[in-house]
């Protein structure tokens, strides 16, 4: 059992002939992912890493894809996501950053009322070590194991996964939810899946300033999560009103501070690490 994707998930890549699409498709294949097709309008007939490229998502349906990785530029993401969903693709992962907020709103609204799962926008994707990878996380940091990681950032996630691996903690699923204000999945959504996942025994949440996803996660954990959870929160030093790289990492009108999130986690019995490299030690206190 896995969360959202597994070794049988057939993936297409929209924007496969671009720099990102092409490079990461190759890395995904090396990791063991089933990349069955790519889409770039006007480039149908090409091959990238032996993967056939088509002009439209409709044409890839002969490969029965389950998931898509969208790497097209921000102005074209909405079109690409709806193309995928119209054609019945269940999981839509959006790598692209700077997707307009209202486009994300439209994509996520439609997805949620029609049974699609959206990962991102603006996240590194999802990795299930030993099974599959959809996204841009570096292959070499992973180790198969029992710790699930969900994060709002990219590189910081690698930092923490790397620390877990070096300290002997393998991972069941690692997912980047995305750094934008509206993302397909929030912590609560993924906690529900992790709690049910048989391969997951402990959970690491990597949050950051902005919004109230961490506070909601803390409430949810109190009520519904039996597995041990530890957390890290980035942005303790961030001044209010400034967008700290991620569109979602901004303190507005006093809401979304690191203090508030750390307090909520502490009240829910979730230990919060001070430094990213501390996660394994903190985890050790609550999980074997």
């Amino acid at each position: 059992m896995s969360v959202i994707v597994d070794e049988n998930t057939k993936i297409i890549v929209q924007g496969i002939t671009g720099h990102q699409g092409s490079f990461h498709s190759g890395e995904m294949i090396k990791f063991g992912a089933k990349v069955v097709a790519g889409v770039t309008p006007g480039k149908g007939g090409m091959k990238v890493h032996d993967v056939p490229v088509y002009d439209t998502v409709e044409e890839t349906l002969v490969h029965e894809p389950d998931a898509t990785m969208i790497t097209v530029p921000a102005p074209f993401v909405k079109d690409a996501a709806f193309e995928a969903m119209y054609n019945g693709i269940r999981v839509v992962y959006i790598l692209t950053e700077k997707v307009p907020l209202h486009d994300a709103l439209d994509i996520v609204t439609y997805a949620r009322s029609h049974g699609h799962v959206v990962i991102g926008p603006n996240g590194p994707g999802i990795t299930v070590p030993g099974k599959t990878k959809m996204g841009i996380m570096p292959n070499h940091i992973f180790k198969k194991g029992t710790v699930a990681v969900a994060s709002r950032s990219g590189t910081l996630t690698y930092e923490i996964v790397n620390a877990l691996t070096l300290n002997g903690y393998g991972q069941s699923t690692v997912i980047g939810l995305g750094g934008d204000r509206i993302t397909g999945l929030n912590f609560v959504d993924i906690l529900e899946l992790f709690e049910k996942d048989e391969d997951t025994e402990a959970i690491v949440l990597v949050g950051e300033i902005g919004g109230t996803a961490e506070e909601e996660a803390a409430e949810y954990i109190k009520k519904y999560v039996s597995k041990p959870v530890v957390a890290y929160i980035a942005g303790r030093s961030a001044p209010p009103g400034k967008r700290m790289g991620h569109a979602g990492a901004i303190i507005t009108r006093g809401k979304g501070t690191a203090e508030s999130k750390i307090k909520a986690f502490n009240e829910a019995g979730v230990p919060v690490a001070e430094f990213p490299w501390e996660i394994p030690q903190v985890l050790k206190k609550v999980y074997k």
Binding site: P75, H102, I182, G211, G248
Partner: protein, 390 residues
Amino acid sequence: MNLYEYQGKALFKKYGVPVPQGYVVFKPEEIMDFYGERVIKAQVLTGGRGKSGGVKFASNVEEARKLAKEILSMEIKGHKVHAILVEEKLKIEKEYYLSILIDRSTRKPLIMASPEGGVEIESVPDEKIYKFVVNPEIGVQPFVGRALAKKMGFTGDLAKQFTNILMNLYKLFREYDAELVEINPLVLTEGKEVKTEMYPPMSGMTLSTKAPGKLIAADSKVVIDTDSLYRHKDLEENAEEKTPLELEATKAGYAFVELDGNVGVIANGAGLTMATLDTLLLYGLKPRNFLDLGGTDSVDITKNAFTYVLKANPDAILVNIFGGVTKCDTVAQGIIAAKEAFNINMPIVVRLSGVHEEEGRKMLEENGIHAFADMRHAIEKLKEIMEGSQ
């Protein structure tokens, strides 16, 4: 991006949300002659300008120009006054509040309305704020207006005015990719006395009733999603929200925020950059800036990042790269190129992890730059250097 009041009101007008009659001026002499009273309002991207003397009343053009001159030379909470909005003075019966924003937790537009306007919404008790989560698949149909109007105490014609304003505001919110549209206060003007002649005609008896007033947006706060600006060519980016250096770095493609410490920071990924700043603080060091290099591993992008950090005049520079798939030797080349090109003599400590990391670190050490494989040791080294130099 925050819009100035006058920019927001121009959008309101375009979408049929009533605003007071008025115009914007950038110089006092642009104020035209008038009869009656006018409001002279400072255009700044911050709240509380009233208390700071940024809103005045004038009853003739000389007075108006004098006040405008004073206001244009003010600084309000650190913001220079950008322009002056000259408006008719409304006769106010009552002030309300109305806004639409993107609620991150429901991932839907959220309408907030309150009969207590004219004050900061944060100071209004929760039970006086009426909320409505919009399903964007349905949008704001008239029923939304009716439901909120009832709670706000609007009936008859006022309920219709309110519904129209709400529907038009939502249209603006969606079509202009707004993060927030706020009317505070939404003013109800005084109704007019209406005298109706009574039966029989010419009897001289009249019935005096009060026609309801008008709902008018007396202020505007509109925040547009920066990522959508490419499709709103009619809106210029307002410079005031960023420092000149932030603006320069952002235009060059780096996410950059100025802070008030003395350690220049370059890292990759927003989360890791934030974590780097946090860690510095926990170690008693103060970051001078946030600079996210992004995911690219080009020599030039790395080298140019130093331009903006150096302009912030730090005492030392910390580079924190968790490479993943980034080629560390390329990054190292960029750092070395920067050190040479910009003749950097202050300490540089680098954390470099990823593809070809050992090669990269070796290159750095050979050029007199401290290089580490992990974040912790890099920061400890930096602390040691900075404490030693005191």
